[in-house]
Point group: D2
Chain length 337, copies 4
């Protein structure tokens, strides 16, 4: 922590601040310039509230020196995390493609789409069984029945699976059938849920909250890591800004930043970021060009009759075409799809 004192801070105030910090066990380094005194307070105090120092008399500003996340940071683990699920590697040179419908709707639908996913060379099948809906009057998902369908469709097509978990009570049943847990944007700071997922060993994909800073996102990852599960991947899916022409603002600038400060893989979700199918391909391409470690894309063979988010689902043939472009872009930046 670095403490900047007011120009007008008295000697007594400065001494008081130093004593205060020493009482908390910090090691103190004082620098006195012509105008100001700056105090470096060294020593890690997990969870120390720096506002306590900021409100002391004579203090102008306080900066934390260490990032509040530890296990999620590059200084904790220099090598990029590669998560292995069956024969799929997430975070390696290959860019991973995750595809499937928003909601699991029927056996026919899932088998049809799993085949598309498999034929396209994508390796992970997505599908929601428990759905978080803004309106209590919307379709809420097929539940366990859907999970069984997804598992069967995936097995037949040799795919890894991912589905969203919304509450602690769903962890057991999902773990039984599915390979990767997804935590949705609205649950990014559902700490009780994160803690429990930290106690499982299956990988977790943690979506960024609509208004979550990169730091908060990594702090939420920290909840999972600190509870014992090292297999966390992040997922950028758009943030909320003042702009209303776009559904969300897809924060691609976050991708290289997160990769610099953290070792965790970063997936991008252009479907939820944009909300409209005609904007998915340009944003999928941009995400690969920006360096994402994977993409999650919603597809549907009959989007008109999809039970949720049909307007953002790509038709299978559009998805296949898009993959061809993505392969060339991956190549341009020395990666593979």
């Amino acid at each position: 922590m670095v403490v900047i004192l007011e120009n007008s801070a008295t000697k007594e105030q400065i001494e008081n601040v130093i004593k205060y910090l020493e009482d908390y066990g910090f090691q103190i380094h004082k620098s006195t310039g012509v105008q100001r005194t700056v105090i470096g307070a060294i020593g890690v105090q997990p969870g120390f509230d720096t506002r306590k120092v900021k409100i002391l008399d004579g203090v102008a500003d306080v900066y934390r020196v260490t990032a509040p996340f530890k296990q999620a940071s590059r200084s904790f683990k220099e090598d990029k995390t590669v998560i292995k699920v069956k024969d799929v590697e997430i975070g390696g040179d290959e860019i991973v493609l995750i595809a499937g419908p928003c909601s699991i709707e029927s056996e026919e639908q899932m088998f049809k789409l799993a085949e598309v996913v498999s034929k396209s060379g994508s390796k992970i099948l997505r599908g929601g069984a428990f759905k978080p809906r803004t309106s209590p009057y919307s379709f809420q998902g097929m539940g366990e029945e859907g999970l069984v369908i997804m598992r069967d469709a995936a097995e037949k097509n040799n795919l890894v699976t991912i589905t969203e978990v919304m509450q602690i009570g769903e962890i057991d049943v999902i773990e039984k059938y599915i390979d990767i847990f997804q935590v949705g944007a609205r649950n990014m700071q559902n700490f009780a849920l994160l803690k429990e997922l930290g106690k499982t060993q299956k990988p977790v994909m943690l979506k960024r909250g609509l208004a979550a800073t990169i730091e908060e996102w990594l702090m939420s990852a920290e909840y999972i890591l600190a509870n014992g599960n090292p297999n966390v991947m992040l997922c950028e899916r758009g943030i909320r800004t003042f702009e209303t022409y776009t559904r969300n603002t897809f924060d691609l600038s976050a991708i290289p930043i997160v990769q610099k400060i953290s070792h965790l893989p970063v997936i991008a979700d252009p479907s939820h970021a944009t909300g409209y199918r005609d904007q998915v391909p340009p944003m999928a391409r941009a995400a690969v060009a920006a360096g994402a470690d994977g993409l999650m894309i919603e597809i549907h063979h009959d989007p008109e009759n999809a039970l949720s988010d049909g307007p953002q689902a790509l038709l299978p043939e559009v998805y296949l075409e898009l993959i061809n472009e993505l392969k060339l872009i991956a190549k341009a930046i020395h990666r593979e799809i």
Copy 2:
């Protein structure tokens, strides 16, 4: 729903849109101007995804005509909701004061503060037993033990109590000891939790998410109302904006708007909105002047040693002084404290 067609929409496209809407059971009114055709689609389809229409050929824009919340709206219930808890009324002419520490820390602390709350004429005691903390390394609350302490302190001082519920598993134990459930900002869209709270009959105070629109906030209230619990009050506690000098931006402009479109009482929380004790009094005064139905303010007799959020807690004597100012402001707008 109102559908605006492109200037260039063909007759066939327009007919196609009309047929599409009729198939969904909407009743159609077409208006043709010199430049454009506008279609009014009347008939309520709960949860209908308007994007389905927006992506049809020839469609320029689509607007929902009805607000997506129902039971939370003024058109559903014209009279303001007044929630009665013991002898306290929330949402009436009197502005309700809720005060207490951030976290329940000990018997001594709670009894001391409950006495302050009672003497100040405030009627509701707050205190957290289960704490949502951004960092997994911070104090996580006293749990049930804390609830017992709070109940005892409140009973001795004839106070109503409120505490935060973070997950479904905590509902039963909280219901046993406490009068009002608080849902925190991070859980505003934890729909599973909201549904369960809808099945209880105790009042729920729903905090606005950091980046939640007013509409989403009311939709979350709708989850509780639609599941059978009519006793919902809202709580504005600051939103996230680009400004970093302030911890949050306290959105007081939301208060008169929410009171116009909804019948639910609105509480304001200047402590979390500002994060620093010196900014609490001006914002508390502003919230009363803006028309809030109540205030929630953190107090602590020894903020320096508080286990959480000490820097934003008012000392008891500052709180008492503030109340005197608030009484005069309430009078100026023909209300009481």
Copy 3:
């Protein structure tokens, strides 16, 4: 400036950073902790781009120690600035009321409204002669003719006047007739204009840009101050956020903050912040309760036929009623109107 080094920074990298800073004339204080080294670089280098240090090898983060604004800061001038215009004082104990129409439209209109302003006890008359309009197809103002009308209406009613200046070419003509220059939100960073206004001696009211941080706002004030004009007052008029139910988010939390870090008076403009007349009174009351040094409120005797912003103008009788409430609130916080 405080420079935080990476945990993994090598001795050579640290020495390189120190040499770099010394070459720029900074005085160096190095603090070495168990995990990290922190360097304090003391010495003011106006306009130094701290990113230059941030990109050096081994550097984790850099913080500026001094605020970039000088003359606008409380450490430059401890006493609050009180601006005197004729017999009006802005920034003193009395809260100043500025009222009038959005646009100057006719002699009849201005004389009528100037009389209302005067009778209400308000001291400053507002009115736009050069109008910044988002659309090139909207009314653009009466120009000099309007200024003459406003001056005459003000003189007859013993009022001080304020009007918006949009470009350098308008400064001379406005200076001839009007007492206070207003710089609009969209021009807050029109630095060429600010410099020229710094060379005049008439007071300037600087509105906050829609997305301007408090720091940028004060930096723009600095442009005027640094060019020789000490008579600057600030005006909060709402910022842009994700919320769309409100026109802008009125950032009342900025008021106590700005008053803490700067000595300049802060005016609040609830008319532009809300955009609708029914929301002006609650927000005007809240601004006074939050500690604003003045209010600017749009009024019109015939808002229906106003040439601009009629929907946010108060009728004269509503304005008079509001003032009665504001007086009581001012009293509650030991100020006067």
Copy 4:
């Protein structure tokens, strides 16, 4: 305009609204549903303030049917605008590269960099002579002397030139030496400046304001178009959001949207969007992949000693390498660099 009435609107209120609209010359279509009445008001009234209708009794909501911009819209001009400057085409199949230093600093610097730009195959040279700086204490540019240098350097290397214009008084001198005017983000709503640029015939590149919606951006383009200059290109350069790890949030999702609703070319500026040189290449690649019609990138042969924005400038060799990647990405989406 579409007017939605309250469920509870009385017959009299509805008739009153209709009469009101008819008095303004609108043609009325009334649709009455079970719950609500919806009124379509057809007929273009440029600059009509829809809030006037919103505040009428019985009105729930009002939506504009036509976009407020005209000449900037695709419905005004279906074909994409291609701007020709000398032998360069902006908005065609080829993606245009604009490169050069932030500020013009010396003859040596400009000739060196112009040569790099030319050798790289880029066609437009950038460089600032009049600099908008947040701080009044920073370098403010070389002025006309710089323009002469840039013209000479460009001529020698057969390049087209672009520079920023900050005020009306600079238009003449810039027009004398330079091919394209750039309007900076802070001046996006400097309407006086836009009007004057509309009267010139040289192309204008209009940067998006930090907090400007897409609609406001196009409305500002409309100011230039409506005053007679059809050669407008847009430039996305990052918007302001709550995120602080990134300097700005580069809004790439805006690119396909703007290209859908407008015919104007869209350039992307990853240098200002990110502010740090290591983030420029991934964001440049992403912008091309998202479909930008051009890129503007800052380069410097000695960024350490650049007088402004050195930390975001690419070294010439990095720029050349980046172009190789960009060419492959352009090919992947069937365009050329």
